[in-house]
């Protein structure tokens, strides 16, 4: 066991099916210790399943690997002691108070001073004075803060966060990410799944997964560069343009962004040939631009749908 290696998660060939439907297919990934690893992909792509496999909540049909140096198949009890898992749905007890929830977690992990640990966490979370409030009565942002507090309480080495910021306002999201960066700076490894592009850009590394397949991974810049996507941003008289361009050869994706339209394709020549008639049109302004991470992902999503569905 190489508990001191600088790889926190190292898995190969993970596969998992439910009722004959393959949810995760031959997935391999490595996550460095102390890094924030973003996990992106459409709904139902296998993100939650992968996270559950990593913390021992699901057994993979095949594949192997280690989490914090422990075998994910044999040592799930040891992994559980050192991993904090924040579920997608709020899963603390709604009918227990803030303090009671934290004390419960502290006792399950066998912390010597459960009350003290809970008290410290309450003040760290900024929940002092509300410790008697029932968890179910907290607002979305506070619930999510409390859940993060609960899973960092037993001093885990790895945090698995499954869409932690879904439905949370921008200010709370920003605070949350500052917290995650602070934790990573302390040496904690964080694997976080998200749908938000701005959050993906806050990660050290990202992986894109769709239909159970890991399609791209690396830093944000690497993923954009590897996509080899050419994007034009169009502004002006856009009405009807999106429908006209969709499906033309070389045009892989047409996406409206407020008052502009992003037109992207992998085959530059075909793309430029197809858009040529409209480039001359008055009232339209075309500009070649760098694809955004979202362009890359939406294009990946469209491509993977063709390949795997």
């Amino acid at each position: 066991m190489n508990g001191d290696s600088d790889i926190a998660i190292d898995v190969k060939g993970l596969t998992k099916s439910f009722g004959g439907r393959e949810v995760v297919h031959d997935l391999s990934m490595q996550v460095k210790r102390g890094s924030i690893y973003g996990f992106l992909g459409p709904n139902g792509s296998g993100k939650t399943t992968t996270i559950r496999i990593l913390c021992g909540l699901l057994t993979p049909d095949s594949g192997e690997g280690t989490c914090l140096g422990y075998d994910i198949l044999k040592d799930s009890e040891k992994i559980k002691r050192q991993v904090g898992y924040m579920t997608q749905r709020f899963s603390l007890y709604q009918d227990l108070s803030v303090r009671e929830n934290l004390e419960f977690v502290a006792r399950l992990y066998g912390l010597t001073d459960a009350r003290g640990a809970a008290r410290d966490m309450i003040s760290r979370l900024g929940l002092s004075g509300r410790e008697q409030q029932l968890a179910g009565e907290l607002s979305g942002g506070w619930k999510q803060r409390l859940a993060l507090g609960a899973c960092t309480l037993p001093n885990p080495k790895l945090l698995l966060l499954d869409e932690p910021t879904a439905g949370v306002d921008p200010k709370a999201r920003r605070d949350f990410w500052n917290e995650i960066h602070a934790l990573a700076a302390e040496g904690l490894t964080v694997l976080v799944s998200t749908h938000y592009m701005d959050e993906a850009e806050r990660c050290h590394e990202i992986a894109y997964i769709a239909y159970g397949h890991l399609l791209a991974h690396g830093t944000v810049e690497e993923v954009i560069a590897k996509s080899a996507l050419t994007t034009y941003t169009v502004t002006g008289e856009l009405s009807g343009l999106a429908a006209e361009l969709t499906g033309k050869p070389g045009v892989d994706m047409v996406a409206p962004f407020g008052t502009s339209l992003h037109v992207s394709g992998r085959d530059v020549a075909a793309l430029e040939a197809s858009i040529a008639p409209w480039r001359e049109k008055s009232g339209l302004h075309w500009q070649k631009s760098a694809p955004s991470l979202e362009d890359v992902f939406i294009e990946l999503m469209g491509r993977s749908r063709d390949n795997f569905q």
């Binding site: 699901l58 899963s91 399950l108």
Partner: protein
């Protein structure tokens, strides 16, 4: 790019028959959901058919072949004839023959037999002399239904039966006197029978429901997922969920027994500590069974349905409503698998008969076994993963 916009012509919204249309939509939805819930669907058929067959055949309010003991203080031909005649009435089935009064009393006290026939020393000689000696028939009247029909018709039936095998000829009346003694409940008051039984029935109902919902509730509220990701073992979850309710059940038992004693005048002849100890065992057994349902059920509704499937036979086959000894053998075996059967014997024996631990060994052991089996199933059924 796909679009969710409707491609066909816009559907006209008709408001005529709106009430019916919306009611129909709701009904159709309910039917679909019902069809998807396999357990509920099975219950629609299983509850009436199974329970009706089960109880229709099992329940018999005029029981026959009741287990009986004979205290034989004289081994004479006449004594044998009398016993044979009693057995021929089809009410009695002699399963024990003892020669000692204490053994005789213990058999009745522990509930192993419902009747005891005592043939006194010098019985045959006294009959010959025309002394009209007494033949004592002691009945366990804690269940008056079982005892009364046998006792009521005893004299006449024995007389008819004896006519055929007695060498006395054709006597105008019986040459001996049958003295029936309804033990433990001489006035055959049904409340003495019902109230102790209610202790067990109420506890079964409340305890089952408490734990039957405990695991499914965690699954439905989503808390199970984070619970499973934390270092806690299935046994620890089970103990944590059962122990608090033992206290709750104990308070309930205390209340019911007190109401029984002070409001209904039911005596407690036996030891209260023994009653408390065995009640705790019974409470734990029921909680363990409820918890087992909870680990099997997919949702809270199913857990409640399972509890009912268990509760109904508990009431009907345990001897609470109908005499246990009157049921056919298969129903008795089924009854032996229900904690309530054993607890009802225990609670009646302690309260009404003043039974002690040696009388109740079998039923106490049965409760412990049932509890252990349920707990083992629960721990193995408990899903450590979400697979």
């Amino acid at each position: 790019m796909s679009s969710i916009r409707a491609t066909g012509p816009l559907r006209e919204i008709r408001d005529r028959f709106g009430f019916l249309r919306r009611s129909y939509a709701m009904m159709a939805k309910e039917f679909i959901q019902l069809r998807r819930d396999r357990v509920s669907f099975a219950m629609i058929v299983a509850i009436p058919v199974m329970q009706l067959l089960l109880f229709g055949f099992a329940i018999n309010t005029t029981p026959h072949h009741l287990p009986s003991a004979v205290l034989l203080q004289e081994d004479s031909d006449l004594a044998r004839s009398v016993l044979k005649a009693l057995e021929n009435t089809a009410y009695f089935r002699f399963v024990y023959e003892v020669h000692d009064v204490e053994d005789f009393d213990n058999l009745l006290k522990s509930g192993k037999v419902l009747f005891g026939v005592e043939i006194p020393r010098g019985f045959e000689r006294a009959v010959r002399r025309g002394d009209k000696p007494a033949l004592l028939v002691a009945a366990d009247a804690t269940d008056p239904v079982a005892a009364s029909s046998a006792l009521g018709s005893l004299g006449m039936i024995v007389q008819t039966a004896l006519k055929h095998d007695l060498y006395i000829g054709d006597p105008p009346a019986l040459p001996f006197e049958i003295r029936a003694h309804a033990r433990y409940n001489p006035a055959a008051e049904s409340r003495l029978n019902i109230v102790p039984g209610l202790v067990g029935t109420i506890l079964t109902m409340t305890m089952l429901i408490f734990t039957a919902l405990s695991v499914t509730r965690e699954i439905e509220r989503g808390t199970m997922e984070s619970l499973l990701s934390m270092p806690i073992k299935p046994v620890e979850v089970m103990i944590g969920k059962i122990v608090p309710y033992i206290l709750v059940g104990f308070i309930q038992a205390f209340l019911i027994v007190n109401i029984g004693v002070f409001l209904f005048g039911v005596p407690v002849l036996g030891n209260l500590f023994l009653l408390a100890a065995l009640s705790t065992l019974f409470i734990a057994a029921n909680l363990a069974i409820g918890y087992t349902f909870s680990t099997i059920a997919q949702n809270q509704l199913q857990a409640i349905q399972m509890s009912f499937m268990f509760f109904l036979p508990s009431i009907l086959l345990s001897g609470f409503m109908f005499p246990f000894a009157g049921m056919p053998a298969w129903a008795q075996y089924l009854g032996e698998c229900l904690p309530l059967t054993h607890y009802i014997r225990i609670v009646r024996a302690i309260m009404l008969k003043g039974a002690t631990m040696p009388n109740l060994r079998y039923d106490a052991l049965a409760l412990a076994v049932l509890m252990t089996v349920a707990m083992t199933i629960a721990v193995t059924r408990f899903r450590r993963t979400l697979d």
